[in-house]
Symmetry: C2
Subunit: 341 residues, 2 copies
Amino acid sequence: MYVANRSNTRFSAVKITDVAAAAGVAPMTVSRVLNTPERVSPDTAARVLEAIETLGYVPNLIAGGLSSRRSRMIAAIVPTIASPMFHEPVQSFTDAMGRAGYHVMLALSGYGEADEATLVRAVLARRPDGLLLTGAHRTPAVQRLLATAHVPVVEMWDTAEHPTDMLVGLDHAEVGAEVAAFFAARGHTRFAFLGASDIRATARRRGFEQGVAAHGGTLVAAKTVNAPGTILDSREALRAIAPELTGRRTALFASSDLVAFGAITEARLLGIEVPTQLAICGFGDFELSRGASPAATTVHVDGTAMGLLAAKHLLARLAGHATAGVHRSLVPFHIIERETS
Amino acid sequence: MYVANRSNTRFSAVKITDVAAAAGVAPMTVSRVLNTPERVSPDTAARVLEAIETLGYVPNLIAGGLSSRRSRMIAAIVPTIASPMFHEPVQSFTDAMGRAGYHVMLALSGYGEADEATLVRAVLARRPDGLLLTGAHRTPAVQRLLATAHVPVVEMWDTAEHPTDMLVGLDHAEVGAEVAAFFAARGHTRFAFLGASDIRATARRRGFEQGVAAHGGTLVAAKTVNAPGTILDSREALRAIAPELTGRRTALFASSDLVAFGAITEARLLGIEVPTQLAICGFGDFELSRGASPAATTVHVDGTAMGLLAAKHLLARLAGHATAGVHRSLVPFHIIERETS
DNA sequence: ACGTGGAATGGTAGCGATAACAGATGGACT
DNA sequence: AGTCCATCTGTTATCGCTACCATTCCACGT
């Protein structure tokens, strides 16, 4: 009879049975020392730990994951990490989950058409214990995948009536409306928008437009650039709408601080005075807006808090507080008035 | 006798045996359809694929990984993703590895003392098929871990005589020397350095200082800020060295474009004319340096190429071209002359 | 003395996939 | 017709851990 022999083993990796043998205990006890040390007597634990040290044992989480049906891993999907908008929440989320013993696997979806379903599928193949997604609007295909996977999901950076599961969001329309109100309160009547065409920037734009209308103002220009919106694109866009900006005082809402910076830069070159002739408000409160001169007025959203909150919700769910009500929170925002308004 | 029964199963996840049963084949055939489709007859494959589709089967890579001893996962460790210096290579590396069927798991080490060994250990527990590390200098503890793990390693962004394994590096000292030469060729004799205190920025600084000395110049000021170096820190640092900068023409090398931007901004506020009185060269060629006005002279390093090259080396090794010579390449760099020099 | 219960540890059987073979089948060629 | 080989599919035995229950031991109360 045939006997399988996987002797292709490239080298002899130390495994839990080796440690157990060296410490004179059962493998199960080694496992307990690593996972539930409080259930092992202190001196056995010490002996096991010593064996682990001398053998240089590194537990195999793949095997452990298969057996326990828990990967201790969370997958996070964001469009890009190039923007502080995403790397701040991701970083704080990663830190917080790390403290709780979870690794975060990051996946980049890009802004393009790239099929989110394919990405989610690939990610689910690793059986993450939880998911952090960007935005709150999923295609039916993705919804189906998530539903059958039975994985806790946190969505961030957007809001929706019925999120997939948990949500730590931001009401972009409200942001736009608030910025319009902010400008209106300072006597502005002519408004303009400059920004990226992604879903959330578009929501801010719509909120802004409605706010402008509500305050009886007029939108004299609105120009979109490709997401995520670069400085150079923004400068070009500002040049394009410059004719609308000369002569009369205008208030511009930029979809991100990068776009705002481009607008400020180009305005200076065109001789449009900021903020007297052109007032500008950005979004994101990037380091750049604080560091540049003039420092940019912008909308501050606490990305770090968002990541932390997402982690908190997810950890609560993972700890089994499954039915502890709906987890849906909106992150507050506020306008930081600096030198460009 | 006791019979184990893990009926804690929260729900019935579809597994390979379900698909096999539905398609009327053996599980092994399903596995082959997914991994080596060329070894399965077209109509069997079609039947299996259909079963996969109707059942909504998502393969379990944890189980597959345990069995095949290949996780199809690469771990990447970088200090931060907040800087283009790291997110560019990481992004291109991730893309390239993704095209080859590997997922990249990102881990952030920070710039602090945080024990790299602990992080590497945690990462190795997931049995990655390869590792991408930042820098070329490992502590003995990490070296031991990597050696016993028998995992291909690529180190990037630095250079060393004897890298751990493969290397896609940059000679920072040479960068510093080149910048000194660049300034010297334009008649500068007074030089200054402003930058972060991390290992690679320090290497650039030393190369710059040696270059300055070689050209008979004098270093009139050198100030370091905490890594990674923010705009505001840089502005403050420039104020501190401003007395050395007034009156006589000076050439400043900044350890990153962010630092350079801070210097440019503060110089303008102090009435120090750029570039006539103070010439500035940054490092990294960030979007900011292209987009700002004046556009900053800087050292361009192709981060995307670096990530791609790292992926290429790693994939070659993973494909079994194990002994195909030393994989150690230096990424070229060049100075982009713009408006601040 | 004896039952009771808690703490510590061990034995066994999977978790869900794949490596390594072993058939089965059929066509090409002698 | 018989041999050989290539192609396809199936069977078996792991991969290295952990859940589940069993067992042992000892302190304690009655």
